[in-house]
């Protein structure tokens, strides 16, 4: 299925958010996630299904003021 990851279209074949992160190369990475504008904690990722057209944001630490 096609979803949007950090603003870019990606083809994903994963049943849930945890599996999708694995597929995208962030399996071991320290990241924070939001799906369609809502925060998804680490513990909820395996139980969060994905659908075509979902918007996934994968964030990490960055310089800030």
């Amino acid at each position: 299925m096609k979803i949007d990851v950090n603003g870019s279209p990606r083809e994903i074949d994963a049943a849930n958010l945890a599996a999708a992160l694995e597929q995208l190369g962030w399996g071991e990475a320290r990241v924070a996630t939001a799906l369609n504008g809502r925060f998804v904690p680490v513990s909820a990722r395996p139980g969060t299904p994905l659908s075509t057209g979902d918007r996934l944001e994968v964030l990490a630490a960055m310089q800030g003021g």
């Binding site: 990241v31 924070a32 990490a60 003021g65």
Partner: protein
């Protein structure tokens, strides 16, 4: 002494981590200044997040994640939730921008976000305009720190509305106050601290200096000087001269 959600700072300088020429210079700025708090943000992961996070953690200072760039309460709340998990802290510098040219906080969205986040257990550091009514609403929402701007972010103009900043200090004697944004020179930091503010938060004035580490130290010294002055009871200003040398005993010549 006023503390920051139970944390007493031994240095009234809070420093941003953006815009430095290199990570080594950033580290030197923190080392030279002894800044007690580092602000950080969350952005789309491009493979550099972990290294940056490891470096910031190694500074050994308190971490204050921000919601920079958010324009609505909804965005800011989601960002705060993500930051709490990522940075493992319930501290959040709440920024909700209302105007693109001035980066002025949107007071309505700010208060709405503060209410939701305080209710959810966050310890909110709201970046706000110097308006006393907004300050009251934020305290009612549960904020125990207020961070009025000195001037627009990155402008370096200093304290553009000293009257309002003084009024806030008088109106909220028990709330820690931080001048956040707009400081350009160490004297601006000293001025804020002389008014009885509890800390100053800045980034650009240090990061964009020719020698950021030395400038960070200058800001820290100025802030500490202002803090000592505020605690020492500054004399009231007056319009007329008052001779400091005694008149008694002056020779008749």
């Amino acid at each position: 002494m006023r503390d920051f959600y139970g944390v007493t700072l031994d240095n009234p300088l809070m420093l941003g981590t953006a815009q430095y020429p290199s990570p080594a210079v950033l580290e030197a700025a923190f080392r030279e200044s002894g800044a007690a708090i580092a602000t950080v943000s969350l952005r789309r992961e491009r493979g550099e997040g972990q290294a940056f996070w490891d470096m910031v953690r190694s500074l050994g200072v308190h971490i204050l994640p921000n919601t920079a760039g958010c324009h609505s309460a909804r965005e800011a709340i989601t960002t705060a939730q993500m930051a709490r998990e990522y940075f493992e802290t319930d501290w959040i510098k709440l920024e909700v921008i209302g105007h693109d040219d001035t980066l002025q906080p949107d007071p309505f969205e700010l208060v709405a976000a503060a209410e939701a986040l305080c209710a959810d257990g966050f310890k909110v550091f709201p970046y706000m305009t110097e308006d006393q009514v907004i300050a009251t609403r934020l305290v009612e929402a549960g904020c125990r720190v207020l961070m009025p701007w000195g001037a627009p972010i990155g402008s370096g103009l200093g304290l553009t509305n000293p009257f309002a900043l003084r009024s806030l200090r008088a109106a909220f004697p028990d709330i820690p106050l931080v001048v956040d944004a707009g400081l350009g020179l160490p004297s601006h930091a000293a001025q804020a601290m002389e008014m009885g503010y509890d800390a100053v938060l800045l980034n650009t004035a240090v990061a964009q200096a020719d020698d950021p580490a030395a400038m960070a130290r200058a800001f820290a010294l100025a802030a500490q000087a202002g803090q000592i002055a505020a605690r020492s009871g500054p004399m009231p200003a007056r319009d007329m001269a008052a001779p400091s040398t005694p008149l008694i005993g002056k020779a008749f010549l």
